[in-house]
């Protein structure tokens, strides 16, 4: 069973979202997602300063097997990207909710955060997808 922390929000495309303050969120991929994708070998993080829309593909994780798009959970401006992933893409496998975070967004419209799932909702969503 994969780990689903209770203090995070989740998307249907298996990103997690940590709300840092009213307008800043950190994004990564869930434990369930990293396990399904396999060993990570390259992470293409978004450019800092880029404007993204909700559900827009803005990063790519490449595992030994395949490349997968990472979608922005909300619209806003990319303000930070995890530079350590260049040398340690395996952080996404080892600590998906910690050192394996991918980017941070300054959220445009905080109402968009309301549309995300909570841990319970995401767990049910994963169970349904199986």
């Amino acid at each position: 069973m994969s780990e689903i922390p209770g203090d995070l929000k989740y998307t249907k495309s298996h990103e997690w979202v940590r709300i840092e303050d009213d307008h800043l969120v950190t994004v990564g991929i869930t434990d369930h997602a990293q396990a399904a994708l396999g060993d990570m070998v390259f992470i293409e993080t978004p450019e800092i300063g880029a404007e993204v829309e909700a559900e827009e593909a803005c990063a790519v994780v490449e595992s030994v097997k395949a490349a997968s798009d990472i979608y922005s959970p909300v619209g806003g401006e990319i303000v930070e990207a995890n530079a350590n992933l260049a040398d340690s893409p395996e952080s996404v496998n080892e600590q998906p909710y910690g050192d394996g975070w991918i980017f941070q967004i300054r959220v445009g419209d905080t109402d968009e955060l309301e549309g995300l799932m909570d841990a319970e909702g995401y767990e049910a969503f994963c169970a349904e997808e199986e």
């Binding site: 396999g38 060993d39 070998v41 390259f42 293409e44 490449e62 030994v64 097997k65 490349a67 260049a86």
Partner: protein, 361 residues
């Protein structure tokens, strides 16, 4: 209907992540594809390759038949058990499949073909069959490949005593029978080891004995990165019916001599050679960060080509691939990945074999 090898339960017991491969339910990995790759380069891993097909050819006319059927020449095989790698071609020179054939005796040869191509291979062989040749598709055999620097030692521990003696004496690229077993010192990883055919009923016990001897199960994912590092082609990606061996880095497998041997596809290949082969097949090593994948565009000074295989090399910690590009002397190229052009070097495979990198980075 998904097909299961006789080792399916063993894969599930070992935590295999199962995927569909050419209609077979096979393990992609058992936890970490990268770890499995390193185990084969550094120690000993095993692969269930029972989905591949063994075909026995028997009869008094078997030699002339196989000399016509295959682009490589089985007349090169003079000692019992010796193996030969060959392509089987269409009349137009397109590759139907690549295969290994073993010389058992003058009236018996054993062939191993790919899983995904089995039906068309058998149909083609039957359509070409001569009097005095009979084939038997050996669905009753399972096959396990044990590969790595410690593979032979560990695999021998798992064998019955007599089999151990036979296995210990095998030279590279030679196989031998032990009763119904066939033990061959061959593989698809660039490491030493065995490929062993056993009757289906004995496969699970042999697999367990190998586990006991410390051989780690490895999935199809590692098998792909290992063969890519070792510079070995994969049918369906690197060559198929639309490409000839001359455009696929497989010119070395065509036996042109003796000139009077008229194998299927010979006329087409000779015409292609006379006209000049327009494309070359080569290895590529990505200099920038990223991962090359098959079908991505390759840009060279001589024009555009395509990656036929691509992936991440755990040994080199870089992305490697094979490409079919216009003939020329270019030493570098660009790879188009998600609308960006990344720098790559054109290099001669293999990238890694026998636990070592073969490329200076």
């Amino acid at each position: 209907m998904t097909k299961l090898t006789v080792l399916n339960q063993a894969h599930r017991d070992a935590g295999g992540k199962m995927v569909d491969f050419a209609g077979w339910d096979m393990p992609l990995h058992y936890g970490s594809q990268k770890d499995e790759h390193h185990i084969v380069r550094q120690d000993a891993g095993m692969f269930d390759v029972s989905h591949m097909t063994v075909i026995d050819f028997r009869g008094e006319a078997v030699q002339p038949f196989l000399r016509r059927l295959l682009a490589n020449d089985i007349a090169k095989l003079k000692t019992t058990g010796k193996a030969l790698y060959s392509c089987m071609l269409q009349e137009d020179g397109g590759v139907i499949d690549d295969l290994i054939i073993y010389y058992i005796d003058e009236q018996h040869y054993r062939m191993v073909v790919n899983a995904g191509t089995t039906e068309k291979d058998v149909a083609w062989i039957e359509s070409q069959l001569d009097d005095g040749v009979e084939i038997a598709v050996r669905k009753d055999l399972a096959m396990v490949a044990i590969q790595g620097p410690n593979a032979r030692d560990k695999a021998m521990q798992a064998m019955p005593e007599q089999a151990r003696t036979i296995a210990s004496e095998l030279k590279i690229f030679v196989g031998a029978f032990y009763g119904e077993w066939f033990i061959a010192r061959t593989g698809y990883t660039g490491e030493d080891g065995f490929e062993i055919m056993v009757p289906e009923g004995e496969a699970a016990a042999f697999w367990d004995a190998l586990l006991e001897a410390g051989v780690k199960p490895c999935g199809l994912g590692a098998r792909d990165t290992l063969r890519l590092e070792a510079g070995m082609n994969l049918y369906g990606l690197d060559m198929d019916e639309t490409t000839s061996p001359l455009e696929s880095g497989l010119g070395w497998t065509i036996a042109w001599e003796p000139a009077e041997r008229n194998f299927i596809g010979r006329d087409a290949l000779e015409r292609q050679k006379a006209d000049g082969v327009k494309m070359r097949f080569t290895g590529v090593l990505l200099e920038d960060r990223g991962v090359m994948r098959c079908h991505q565009k390759v840009i060279t000074a001589e024009g555009e080509g395509e990656l036929t295989s691509g992936g991440f090399s755990p040994t080199l910690n870089r992305s490697i691939g094979f490409a079919r590009i216009p003939k020329g002397d270019s030493k570098t190229c660009e790879i188009e990945i998600r609308n960006k052009r990344l720098q790559a070097l054109i290099v001669k495979p293999p990238f890694a074999r026998n636990g070592q990198s073969c490329i200076d980075i």
